[in-house]
Symmetry: C2
Subunit: 168 residues, 2 copies
């Protein structure tokens, strides 16, 4: 079992580190990919080690994709390779879990049309305009897609994420 | 199932919030107790809501005690009520999970003599002087006592904590 987290500097610390630690608790191997290898820094000063560049990622190697929030998705969504990786997961119907601003990468990838989803409140308008069926709930599951709004939704987000992993 | 977290300002954010969210994921009810009710602030700027004062806590109501680290334990260990609560959990053989500087409250309570345990490296000397059998491992389980060293040990810490809860 292998998980991929895509993020960058200014990630929302808890939204990256909570899934990262939680998956390690489940003995799932986790790679963190970013534009460059090395440490990326969260808004609150925590650090995470990006052990892959986006270019190095072979999405076939992974069972689940996690897109944390913060300001990182603003940069991630501009990376064509990140958008391609997201499309791969949807095409193969593999779980994608995005929280807060994380779904912005999925909006750019054009993957949310007609899909039930949620996100941080300031992203809601953009999500609706992308054709998503936005819901203001702690977690929304629609097929392979798991979305949440904010750090306080992490318990529900991880409950569904781990459930999806156990179905694999 | 009910959990009690005891902490104060300057808690290590991840060490309080990760168990807090993780237990909520398991649908465990969690109270946070501190000297006063209201928001307490972590070293990295996250906040947690202390919904009980130490005086209000009836330890009989709880199945597990969690002591996160940071600078909070330095203040918590000076509170006689916090020390009494910790003693209650040991007397009743209920799980106590302490990480980083968290075990300092157990040292003050005189609860670690002859017990296998770990803690943050700067606390190790004090822990040994209190009679504990210190081990430099990501998690040490000795009967009801679960201890870890630092935030990066959280996956192992929570794995054992959840295991202990499932035995109740």
């Amino acid at each position: 079992m292998k998980a991929l987290i895509i993020s960058a500097d200014n990630f929302e610390d808890m939204e990256l580190l909570f899934p990262y630690y939680r998956l390690k608790e489940e003995s799932v191997s986790v790679d963190v990919a970013s534009m460059n290898k090395g440490r990326i820094k969260g808004k609150h000063g925590y650090e995470a080690e990006a052990n892959k560049t986006l270019k190095e990622v072979n999405p076939d190697d992974y069972d689940i994709l996690i897109l944390p929030g913060g300001k990182a998705p603003e940069a991630v969504r501009k990376e064509e390779r990140a958008v391609e990786i997201a499309r791969h997961f949807f095409k193969k119907n593999k779980p994608v879990a995005a929280i807060c601003h994380g779904p912005q990468t999925l909006i750019t990838a054009g993957l949310l049309k007609g899909r039930h989803a949620t996100c941080y409140k300031s992203v809601a308008q953009e999500m609706k305009e992308a054709g998503a069926l936005y819901e203001d709930k702690e977690v929304v599951v629609d097929g392979n897609l798991i979305t949440s709004r904010q750090p306080s939704d992490l318990p529900a987000f991880l409950r569904e994420l781990v459930k999806a992993l156990r179905r694999i």
